[in-house]
């Protein structure tokens, strides 16, 4: 076998025909019974984008209600349902599925595998997650019981006890919430196990762990973290259901139960969950930034170590969500320290991206635009995170709009920006066509402006004392102008996302042909056709470095001469 047995696939036409020769039922049947990681990945992503639009619409409704003091667009109960569903949907039906969708699609291609380790488990996990989502939304019809008018959960996505107890939340809305998350949680666990098994055991010949592309490395870290963090959430949900239906008293404060225990269970899930969501965003930036800067990632071992370090430290920071619940001063101090320590590996990552761009030749195509904005926004999100970790200051800022601004900077400014970048980056691989660059730039700039109008302003409203979760506010508090600005930014973001949705559909039919490797990239997924054939590669690739396609394109200066 030669030094590089990987051949560019141009000699063999692998691309499946894009002409529809099958009937619609056949086509549908194929998608429903598929165990192909690429199709399941796309199902995850389409499912998540659908719910992104739904939860985005809820956010717009929330912002219309808050645009003016004493507004009557939504009544209190409807508002409470909307923000509960917005949060739950965005975390469990958008964030997790879309990131696992990318993991599903990209990881096997990137490690030169023919599929995931357990294709059937993969399909099972997707459909379980999908069922969870539909079940949650069925609560709009069924939450009030057969005789009621129907309702959705209204306890907040954190669902603090004892508000979730039967006494305070009668009806079935809270049960839909708990059971839907148990179901989708099991789906998530299945996918996490699958990705771990795939990365550990399905790598192609020559791909040692230290040659594993960073995207796949981070998906491995994320999946391991998911296994640890979904477990306490599922346990807590089961306890909640026992409380509600079998007379348990875990969280029943009237009978000696503990409201604080729920918070611990929820946040030991909830904080690592933030990293479950943001590490894939880092993973995306790890692919996009080097390719568009035309340089190898700076400090690969440091990036791997920092990711593992973030995952590890993130397991010990959960109670920084609980500085106001009356823990002892010693506990508070511990969680201040552990939280601040997350800043260190995170800082290392930002500096490494910066060093990757330094001295490069940076092309600002749409994926890179999104990832560049991500760098600024994640920097700010990290710094507001440091502010919130200062417990005494947190006593002021906690549950105010400052916190909302901070975590939307993480979830939108970092994660959603990276997800958009990822879609622009891998869409050509998945469909064979480029997304339209012009629409892409409109999408980027509008979304960027809308994002900053909304979430920058939100910090100030919080500092001025406006708490979260309120459906209305007093007109004399001095929050009116700022809230109107926040709301108008929301509309701009909505327009941008619609442009994006149009781009997705238009480009599928009329986009420019992509070819195998439109970005001149270096990882294995670009070494097969677009879209890739079933089982991905004509022959099993063999790699000698982290950038097999670089070696192929630059035989005079291959990476493996420099990598130790």
């Amino acid at each position: 076998m030669g030094e590089n047995s990987l051949r560019l696939p141009s000699s063999i036409d692998l691309a499946p025909s894009r002409r529809f020769t099958e009937t619609f039922p056949e086509w549908l049947h194929e998608w429903v019974v598929t165990v192909d990681h690429k199709r399941l990945g796309m199902l995850y992503i389409v499912y998540a984008i659908f719910f992104l639009l739904v939860a985005g619409a809820q956010a717009i409704a929330i912002r219309i209600q808050l645009a003016f003091p004493g507004n009557h667009f939504l009544v209190a109960q409807a508002y409470n349902r909307f923000f509960t569903m917005h949060g739950t949907t965005m975390v469990f039906l958008v964030g997790m599925p879309i990131l696992f969708g990318f993991g599903n699609y990209v990881v096997p291609l990137q490690i030169g595998a023919r599929d995931m380790a357990y294709p059937r488990l993969n399909a099972f996990s997707f459909w379980l997650t999908a069922f969870g989502g539909l079940f949650l939304y069925y609560s709009f019809l069924g939450g009030g019981g057969l005789y009621g008018v129907g309702t959705a959960p209204d306890v907040g996505w954190w669902a603090y006890a004892p508000l979730t107890a039967k006494a305070f939340s009668p009806g079935h809305a809270t049960d839909y919430w708990a059971l839907a998350l148990i179901a989708s949680g099991f789906g998530t666990l299945g996918t996490a196990i699958n990705i771990i098994a795939t990365v550990i055991s399905m790598r192609c010949k020559g791909m040692t762990m230290m040659r594993l592309p960073l995207f796949s490395w981070l998906m491995l870290v994320v999946s391991s973290l998911t296994l640890i963090t979904i477990t306490p959430l599922t346990a807590a949900q089961i306890m909640l259901v026992i409380d509600r239906y079998l007379g348990g008293h875990f969280f029943d404060t009237q009978a000696g139960g503990s409201a604080v225990i729920w918070m611990h269970f929820f946040w030991i899930f909830g904080h690592p969950e933030v990293y479950v969501l943001v590490l894939p965003a880092f993973a995306i930036a790890n692919e996009v930034i080097p390719v568009f800067s035309r340089k190898a990632i700076f400090g690969y071992p440091a990036m791997v170590a920092a990711s593992v370090g973030i995952a590890f430290i993130s397991l010990s920071v959960w109670a920084h969500h609980m500085f106001t619940v009356g823990m002892t001063s010693v506990s508070n101090t511990f969680f201040v320290l552990s939280t601040m320590m997350v800043g260190i590996p995170t800082g290392i990552k930002i500096f490494n991206w910066l060093a990757t761009m330094w001295g490069g030749k940076i092309r600002f195509a749409t994926p890179m635009l999104f990832c560049t904005a991500f760098l600024y926004q994640f920097l700010i999100a990290g710094l507001t995170g440091i502010m919130l970790s200062v417990a005494p200051w947190n006593w002021q800022l906690h549950n105010s709009y400052f916190v909302i601004a901070h975590f939307h900077y993480v979830l939108v400014g970092a994660i959603v920006f990276c997800i958009f970048g990822a879609i622009y980056y891998w869409y050509p691989k998945a469909t064979g066509r480029m997304l339209d660059e012009k629409l892409g730039k409109w999408h980027f700039w509008l979304f960027l402006i809308g994002f900053h109008v909304t979430f920058d302003t939100m910090h100030f409203v919080g500092i001025l004392g406006m708490p979260r979760s309120i459906y209305t506010y007093q007109p004399d508090r001095g929050w009116n102008t700022l809230n109107l600005i926040v709301s108008s930014g929301g509309i701009i973001q909505g327009v941008a996302v619609l442009l994006f949705a149009i781009n997705l559909i238009w480009s599928y039919f009329y986009g420019q042909e992509a070819g195998n490797d439109p970005w001149d990239a270096w990882t294995l997924e670009w070494g097969t056709s677009s879209p890739p054939p079933p089982y991905n590669f004509a022959e099993d690739p063999v790699v000698r470095s982290r950038r097999p396609l670089w070696d192929l394109k630059h035989p005079e200066d291959p990476d493996w001469e420099y990598e130790s």
Binding site: F168, G299, Y300, S329, N332, L383
Partner: protein, 344 residues
């Protein structure tokens, strides 16, 4: 009115500067801003926040500046790209440098923070302190002064403290149902009221006046209208208020019919009026109802008209609150309102 002047940020910046530079307590403001502290824990928190803000601000300027430099310096048009740039794979020295500097910053921030956590949280209660118990309910605040024998609702009165004769107020925080959170931004950070988990906090306000806040932990349908008012009174004003609150309810013979309505209708099973048969504890104590400026935990001003509307149908002012519409006829409604209006 100039639109710029009406922006709250401006007044907050002014008060922020004055309090930071001169260490002067500013008075109460309509905007419950964390930047306008008027009490001891809020002062220290504010000072610490400025320190942290300056450090994080420097980090932001440095990193964002570098990033902007890189973007401008190294951007390329597609056509310019003839060859790949030099490939650099990493540098252990540089990695070490940008690990050690953040570690040092974290140490500084951590030690400063830890010091203040202990200073605020473990401050011993002085002899001169006033004890108040606040109990959160869906969606109102029960306020008790155990040593003074006072029970009221939604509006706290506390004495103004001073450097020479400190009279801090120590608050015990309980909940009757779900989680709530006590937050008056100008006075102190928030502390949660959690059932079966007693909490405490303290304030030491230095400037008199009315301070606004509201429940800061989502507690159900009307979390948004669970408003909170703290009156910081000068010492003599405070003792006048205490004396009045310690009296039993006013007995005005002109409103006997109203009192009878109150005592024969379900009102009395939820509300208490000292010196009468009404001893309910599910709703606010009404002994000195008219000494309060708002009803419905801040949902409306406390006047006869609003009071009548509230008794007829509380949902019209606060949809989702737990008090039902009382189904009184017009005569009963007038009588009971007149009676309540005498409870000064």
């Amino acid at each position: 009115m100039h639109p710029i002047c009406s922006l709250p940020i401006r007044s907050c910046v002014v008060s922020c500067l004055s309090s930071a530079l001169l260490w002067m307590p500013v008075g109460p403001e309509a905007t419950p801003s964390t930047l306008a502290p008027a009490s001891t824990p809020a002062f220290e928190i504010h000072a610490l926040s400025l320190f942290v803000l300056s450090i994080t601000g420097c980090i932001f300027l440095t990193v964002a500046g570098l990033l902007t430099y890189v973007i401008i310096k190294y951007r390329t048009k597609q056509a310019d790209r003839l060859s790949e740039p030099a490939q650099i794979y990493g540098s252990t020295q540089i990695e070490l440098a940008w690990t050690v500097i953040p570690v040092l910053i974290v140490i500084v921030l951590f030690l400063t923070t830890a010091r203040l956590i202990f200073a605020i949280q473990d401050a011993p209660e002085p002899e001169s302190a006033l004890d108040v118990t606040v109990i959160g309910h869906q969606f109102w605040w029960e306020v008790r002064y155990p040593k003074l024998g006072i029970i009221t609702a939604n509006e706290l009165h506390v004495p103004r403290s001073s450097e020479q004769a400190p009279v801090p107020t120590y608050l015990a925080l309980l909940s009757a149902d779900v989680d709530h959170s006590f937050w008056i931004p100008q006075l102190a950070g928030k502390t949660d009221l959690i059932p079966n988990h007693p909490n405490a906090t303290w304030i030491n306000p230095l400037a008199p006046g009315l301070y606004l806040g509201q429940c800061a932990q989502f507690c159900g349908a009307q979390h948004a209208l669970m408003l909170l008012r703290v009156y910081v009174d000068d010492p003599d004003q405070f003792s006048t208020w205490v004396k009045n609150q310690q009296q039993p309810a006013v007995e005005d013979p002109r409103v006997t019919e109203g009192r009878q309505v109150f005592e024969t209708q379900p009102c009395m099973s939820c509300h208490a009026i000292q010196g009468t048969a009404a001893t309910g504890r599910f709703g606010p104590d009404l002994t000195h109802l008219m000494s309060r400026e708002t009803i419905g935990s801040g949902a409306a001003d406390n006047n006869v008209q609003n009071l009548k509307g509230w008794i007829r149908d509380p949902a019209s002012l606060k949809r989702g609150c737990l008090m039902p519409a009382m189904q009184l006829n017009d005569q009963q409604l007038d009588q009971v309102t007149e009676y309540l209006a005498t409870l000064r």
